[in-house]
């Protein structure tokens, strides 16, 4: 399994790819600092520079497609850090850059025209967003527990900071709860790492994969690590903090949080399980059961939710459940099942990230345009804001999992994998989840197609905000048509066994 994560490699990095990786990691931070100093009211100048890191990433993809997985060993005195870049890392880096870029392009218009935010909040947005991109890149690249811990902490604190920016009382109260939960989660993670370090005396994932042996020490360490990460990922019994946090955050921040921050915790958890406990089928079933409960419970809450943002936030809990179902499909199953489920889970992650970011932006546009935060306030929206509603609809197609979208392809692969593994409960969960997500999405549409309402005062949002939401939604749809492309990237550098 660790070959798929790119942890076994003897490939030495070329100087060019090291430089490019460093550029990809550090450029967002630099741009964020500059943005904080100058506070761009238009997105274009920054975007042009940010395209540099996308180009660097494309170049890096070329390199890795030809040379295979690359690994870095950084010696800092007696301390060694391990990084690696394979196909999966590249896909996640690409996703991060795209979404941060989209949010950064969306933010100036949002802050200036829509929220009319003043004070120090908007100035802090840019450096924090850059820091978030850097810490996420660090998490995708890290191949040892110290790098992962640094990345996780940086990301957690940055995410809390971003959530606090609106400065209103409910944002601060929700942010305080989020801060305390994030801190407790990171303590659990650190305790787990301490036990692993004490037991086997090393922190690099490849070395640990060979050294660890099952026993009470490993189980307690894994329980602590998983608890901390699943708390941060808003997995089912630990999900209650998510909706209040999103409810009061700025729209581009919500989009980044749901699309990337939550996924990073999930990514670390899955990676640690695959490396440290690749045969723990019973425990993986437990996580899968949590995922099943999340799909159903999150769907029900989204269906019952009164506010638009709550619908989207609970839908995140529900969709994350699909990702948790990957645990029993990838752990302790045959090679054939793993090769199907492997593509399914990462495709689901990509599809959900793109669609959820698009949906948050579209919902933000609708809320700004109507001045209403409730679902019932959308009455008459279909005639007045067709573009926002169309973006919402296209994102919904991917979230529900209707045919041409990437969400459909991902769910199809997961379905196929659970059939191949003979784990029929997941079939029921996938079907139920599809029905529930269709139910809560159509509920939003039902309100928006109400025609016989009085004309209230509404103001259309700037066109580029609508266009960015639309572009992300289309990306999630088109990814389904070109699903062979991400799957090929996963395969070339992931090292097919």
């Amino acid at each position: 399994m660790i070959e798929r994560l790119g942890l076994v490699t003897t490939q030495l990095p070329t100087t060019g790819s090291s430089m490019m990786t460093l550029l990809v990691v550090l450029l967002p931070l630099l741009l964020g600092m500059l943005g904080g100093a100058w506070r761009p009211w238009r997105g274009w100048p920054g975007l042009v520079v940010a395209l540099l890191s996308l180009l660097a990433l494309v170049w890096l993809t070329q390199q890795i497609a030809t040379h295979g997985t690359q690994a870095w060993v950084l010696d800092l005195g007696t301390l060694t850090l391990h990084w690696r870049a394979n196909g999966l890392t590249l896909l996640l880096l690409l996703l991060t850059q795209l979404l941060v870029l989209a949010s950064a392009a969306y933010a100036p218009a949002y802050l200036c025209d829509a929220v009319q935010a003043r004070g120090r909040g908007p100035a802090w947005l840019w450096p924090l967003m850059g820091l978030l991109a850097t810490s996420l890149s660090l998490i995708w690249l890290a191949a040892d527990l110290l790098s992962l811990y640094i990345g996780l902490e940086l990301m957690g604190l940055t995410a809390v900071g971003l959530m606090l920016l609106p400065g209103r009382e409910e944002a601060l109260a929700a942010g305080m709860r989020y801060l305390l939960l994030a801190l407790i989660g990171s303590l659990a993670f650190l305790l787990g790492v301490a036990l692993l370090l004490g037991g086997w005396g090393r922190l690099d994932l490849a070395g640990l994969a060979e050294a660890v042996e099952p026993g009470p020490l490993l189980w307690v360490a894994m329980a602590l690590l998983s608890a901390g990460l699943l708390l941060k990922a808003a997995a089912f019994p630990l999900h209650a903090w998510l909706a209040p946090v999103h409810g009061s955050a700025w729209t581009p921040v919500s989009a980044l949080h749901a699309a990337l921050v939550i996924k990073a915790s999930f990514f670390i958890a899955l990676q640690l399980w695959l490396v440290l406990a690749p045969r723990a089928a019973m425990a993986a079933w437990l996580v899968g059961g949590m995922g099943a409960a999340a799909v159903v419970w999150g769907g029900l809450l989204a269906w019952r939710a009164d506010k638009l943002k709550d619908v989207v936030a609970w839908s995140t809990v529900s969709q994350l459940g699909y990702l948790l179902i990957a645990f029993p499909l990838l752990i302790g199953t045959s090679q054939a099942v793993v090769s199907i489920a492997w593509g399914g889970v990462w495709l689901q992650l990509l599809a959900h990230s793109l669609a959820k970011a698009a949906m948050f932006l579209a919902v933000g546009n609708l809320m700004l345009a109507t001045g209403e935060s409730r679902v019932s306030g959308l009455a008459g929206a279909s005639r007045r804001f067709p573009l926002s509603l169309l973006s919402f609809g296209i994102a919904a197609i991917s979230l529900v999992g209707l045919p041409p979208s990437a969400g459909f392809t991902a769910k199809w692969l997961l379905l196929h994998a659970s059939l191949a593994a003979g784990q029929w409960p997941w079939l029921v969960v996938l079907a139920l989840g599809t029905l529930l997500s269709a139910a809560y999405m159509f509920r939003v549409f039902r309100y928006s197609f109400v025609e016989d309402v009085e004309l209230q005062d509404y103001r259309p949002v700037p066109l580029r905000m609508d266009l960015i939401a639309m572009a992300l939604a289309l990306a999630s749809l088109l990814l389904g048509l070109t699903a062979s492309w991400p799957l090929a990237i996963l395969a070339i550098a992931g090292g097919v066994p």
């Binding site: 007696t78 305080m176 305790l191 301490a194 036990l195 004490g198 005396g201 020490l217």
Partner: protein, 223 residues
């Protein structure tokens, strides 16, 4: 005599932590926390981790202490402020039943941890420090679950974190000291940033929502 000299630096933080977590006056609890961090720095020094001792003094005692006092509305320039409304949420009076109920999950976790630690070779240099680390983790978690006041939760978080750091450094071997120190230094920075963010938040929340009925200062509640 020498055994007393070994055990005392390890038990002193535990005693101080109990006082910090149970003191009903927030100002005194914060002052005791600074003292607690200094004794932990002493423990690092006794264990031979000079850098950690320095960082613990700087980050743990001085800066964290400064932010805690800032959360209370006390700054060196203005001195102790006059009676201010209670900070954050009001503290729930300690009830024995509540206290005991929250003790059960913490004891379960401690049992798990002890079982895991039992399978490891005993620390040859500092068994007392490992035990005090374990007790600090338990105490901090218990207080975190018990208290609802934001500042008390920050204190509890810091004490749990310190317990984990002590535990971690008794677990590392000769070859992995650098990795352990890297983890602890990151953890110290995170704890400081978390406390700073929390303290600033408490102040903002106070400023935004002046409490309706001014309750006695420093978390003392007429129960």
């Amino acid at each position: 005599m020498s055994s007393l000299f070994d055990v005392l630096p390890a038990t002193l933080p535990v005693l101080l932590a109990v006082l910090v977590l149970l003191d009903r006056r927030l100002l005194r609890a914060c002052s005791l926390f600074v003292l607690f961090a200094l004794t932990v720095a002493l423990t690092w020094w006794r264990l031979g981790f000079i850098w950690l001792a320095l960082l613990e003094t700087l980050l743990g005692a001085v800066l964290t202490g400064a932010f805690l006092f800032h959360a209370l509305g006390i700054s060196p320039a203005r001195g102790a402020s006059p009676a201010r409304p209670s900070h954050g949420q009001d503290p729930v009076p300690l009830i024995w039943r509540r206290t005991l109920i929250h003790l059960i999950p913490v004891l379960a976790l401690m049992g798990m941890l002890a079982a895991a630690l039992a399978s490891l070779p005993a620390s040859d240099s500092s068994p007392a420090v490992r035990w005090s680390g374990l007790v600090l983790v338990g105490l901090g978690l218990w207080a975190f679950a018990l208290h609802t006041h934001l500042l008390r939760r920050l204190l509890a978080f810091n004490i749990t974190g310190t317990g984990i750091f002590l535990l971690l450094m008794t677990l590392v071997g000769e070859t992995t000291t650098a990795a352990g120190q890297g983890l602890v230094i990151t953890g110290l920075a995170v704890a400081l940033l978390g406390t700073a963010l929390g303290a600033l938040l408490i102040r903002r929340l106070d400023a935004l929502a002046p409490s309706q009925q001014p309750s006695p200062v420093n978390g003392r509640q007429v129960s």
